[in-house]
């Protein structure tokens, strides 16, 4: 009996080979005639001002942070969602619903707080 993840390993190897082949193919087949304007930054034909190593809005960072927290919430809900049906069959459905109700209400408060504080407004 082979390991259930063996095909995944093979898929990974195959995908890496396939993608690598594409990268190599254009490098081999394409012509190579570099010149300074070809290698410069594309800014719609204007002379580029500075480079793109600028600091950007903290907004993105905040969104990323909130994403992690809500993502973890979803991850915690997954085992619950999958076992819920089984628990109902055992007559424990209401108990499970209340359990998850508490969890979800606390996180809904979090979402509401973030909302009221205006972190989700994009200006």
């Amino acid at each position: 009996m082979e390991h259930p993840f063996l095909p995944i390993l093979l898929v990974f190897v195959m995908a890496a080979l396939f993608t690598g082949a594409f990268l190599g193919l254009s490098a081999i087949l394409g012509p190579k005639k570099p010149n300074p304007s070809k290698l410069s930054v594309y800014e719609c034909g204007l002379e580029p001002v500075g480079d793109a190593r600028e600091r950007f809005s903290v907004k993105f960072f905040l969104i990323a942070m909130l994403f992690i927290l809500f993502d973890i919430e979803v991850v915690f809900l997954i085992p619950w969602a999958v076992t819920y049906k089984g628990f109902i069959a055992e007559g424990m459905g209401l108990f499970m619903l209340i359990e998850m109700g508490i969890f979800m209400v606390i996180l809904a408060i979090g979402l509401l707080y973030v909302w009221r504080k205006g972190a989700l407004d994009w200006r």
């Binding site: 390991h3 259930p4 993840f5 190593r53 600028e54 600091r55 950007f56 903290v58 993105f60 960072f61 905040l62 990323a64 942070m65 909130l66 994403f67 992690i68 927290l69 993502d71 973890i72 919430e73 991850v75 915690f76 997954i78 085992p79 619950w80 999958v82 076992t83 089984g86 628990f87 499970m96 359990e99 508490i102 969890f103 606390i106 996180l107 408060i109 979090g110 979402l111 707080y113 973030v114 504080k117 972190a119």
Partner: protein
Amino acid sequence: MSEIFLFYLFGGLSVLMTLLMIFQTNPVASAIYLVGAFFGLAALYVLLSAPFVAVLQVLVYAGAIMVLFTFVIMLLNIRKEELVYDRVTWRKTAVVLTALFFAGFLIWHFLKIPVVPFAPVEEGFGEVHKVGRLMFSKYLIPFELTSVLLLVAIIGALVLGKKE
């Protein structure tokens, strides 16, 4: 047999990636190597018949937390010339050597503990159903407390992020 080989392959991969992460000066490269290390770890979890944990490792650590790290690195955009390099001094060398000595000592003692093979895992070990059943019976209170922890984290993130 192949399991041992795969263990060393992925274990070696994670160790290598972690080392590369430490010895990089470019922070973005470090972050990418860390993702590689997490991948190796996920493969190790698979070998330990814990596929659910393995997938969550990739989903949460590699897919979410490391994206935040990369974001922060790009947000700060430290230029190479702004980086401060530590000088190697005698005192630092001494500290590192002492730490290495104690680490070696510990490892040597751990190696002396006789190896007891685990009993083979039962059917369905490490599956999401088993994890769920445990989480909602035995570990119910820690689970509920996690939601409070997440709430605190949300408020904390907001306070930090909105400061400026």
